[in-house]
């Protein structure tokens, strides 16, 4: 179980998350939707601790991190959280000086200190999983955006995280390239990879997510199954948003 309780985050005097609660069951996918600036990305970044919330509690399985004000998170906890999360960024952020395979195995080599042969075997299996084994020796600059994002997904999965965090994974891609990424994420969801996906792409949300949370102004204003929230929203604001981006 991934559980966020009362997560609060502010940048200076601007509060961007007002005590967010969210539960994600193992093997399920939750989509975070809502307008830009609503707090979707920040919430994801509070799960992998690229941002440190000023209050609240984060549970990743048997690991609990409690945030108080300016207290930094203990090194070991930070390390544990990063081991248990994998992140896919909107702008991919692949390491440009490493090959596709080099990107995927970087964490295995540097962080987990696995032997190169073993890491490469796992890296190839993951590249195969996202359909890019043939491109293992290509550098990111030689790949299309969709291919880069698929490599990034493989990289995020390499450490065998409990949850895959995807921050607008298709927003930097044209519809055709976005489709190949949606297909990969859909197939991961079918295989029971736990995911939290922040997205504007309602097709992606509808395809992969069992649960959908609508975030606005730093609050979860509607939470339910994707059927409920996307097809039949209870709150007029959600209805307005969903219809504005599906037409």
């Amino acid at each position: 179980m991934i559980r966020l309780t009362g997560i609060e985050k502010a940048f200076g005097s601007t509060v961007v998350l007002h005590g967010v609660d969210l539960e994600v069951k193992e093997g399920t996918v939750t989509a975070l939707i809502g307008p830009s600036g609503g707090g979707k990305s920040t919430l994801l970044r509070c799960v992998n601790l690229l941002e440190r919330p000023r209050a609240g509690r984060l549970e990743l399985g048997d690991l609990t991190v409690v945030f108080h004000g300016d207290h930094p998170v203990a090194r070991e906890q930070l390390h544990e959280v990063r081991q248990r999360t994998g992140t896919v960024f909107q702008a991919f952020h692949l390491f440009p000086h490493r090959t596709a395979l080099g990107n995927v195995i970087e964490g295995l080599l540097t962080v987990q200190k696995r032997p190169r042969q073993e890491a490469e075997a796992r890296g190839r299996a993951l590249l195969d999983r996202v359909g890019l084994l043939a491109k293992q020796d290509a550098y990111p600059g030689q790949l299309s955006g969709g291919q880069q994002q698929r490599v990034a997904i493989a990289r995020a999965l390499a450490g065998n995280p409990r949850v895959l965090l995807c921050d607008e994974p298709t927003s930097a891609l044209d519809p055709e390239l976005a489709r190949e990424v949606v297909e990969v994420l859909t197939s991961l969801a079918r295989d029971g990879i736990t995911m939290i996906v922040a997205t504007h792409d309602l097709r992606l949300a509808a395809n992969v997510a069992g649960q959908v949370a609508f975030l606005e102004s730093g609050r979860v204003v509607e939470l339910g199954t994707s059927e409920q929230v996307l097809r039949n929203p209870m709150i007029s604001r959600t209805r307005e948003f969903v219809s504005s981006i599906s037409h």
């Binding site: 992998n48 690229l50 999360t85 390491f95 540097t110 962080v111």
Partner: protein, 226 residues
Amino acid sequence: MPHWLEILRDAFLPLLAAGAAFTIPLALLSFVIGLVLGLLTALGRAFGPAPFSLLARFYVWIIRGTPLLVQLFLIFYGLPAVGIVIDAFPAALIGFSLNMGAYTSEIIRAAIASVPQGQWEASFSVGMTWSQALRRTILPQAARVATPPLANSFISLVKDTSLAAAITVTEMFQTAQRIAAANYEPLILYSEAAVLYLAFCSVLSALQNRLETRLGRHLSPLEVVR
């Protein structure tokens, strides 16, 4: 054999020997020490706590703001007045290293800053610590950006080592001065020394090109600016 050619020939080996014994080791050692100093200074300034950052700024301010020749004189002729006596070669080495450290720290700082923030975040997201991210992700990318300006500094350094002549280091330029003083052929001697400096620097330029190609091998042809 014409007279001028004989002069060139007779001076060639002494000049080359002075270059091999002093100019090249002085330039090479100062560059390596300066690079380490520059990296530490850049990191201290960009990421260190306030005292380190202040110290780094102070160091760069002093070294960049005073003439290299004055610094060399201070170290070699000035320090003995307070009981610190340093031989000519080590004094030159200290002066040039401090100088390189200050200039390269700004190059390294700019190169580190040129690597997008997303690279740090991606490194953290795969579990790296700050120092792992620096070593594995940031510095390799910064190195490519820093290579042309660092090569500039290195080439300037090779030529600046001629200033060590003023503090009695018998490097290539001073050797040329001595021979010219004996045979009254300054035009020929200084031209020959100039050509030897040019030859050293040409080797460095060639090495720079190879290094740039190597560090940029992941770039697509459109990203390469020659």
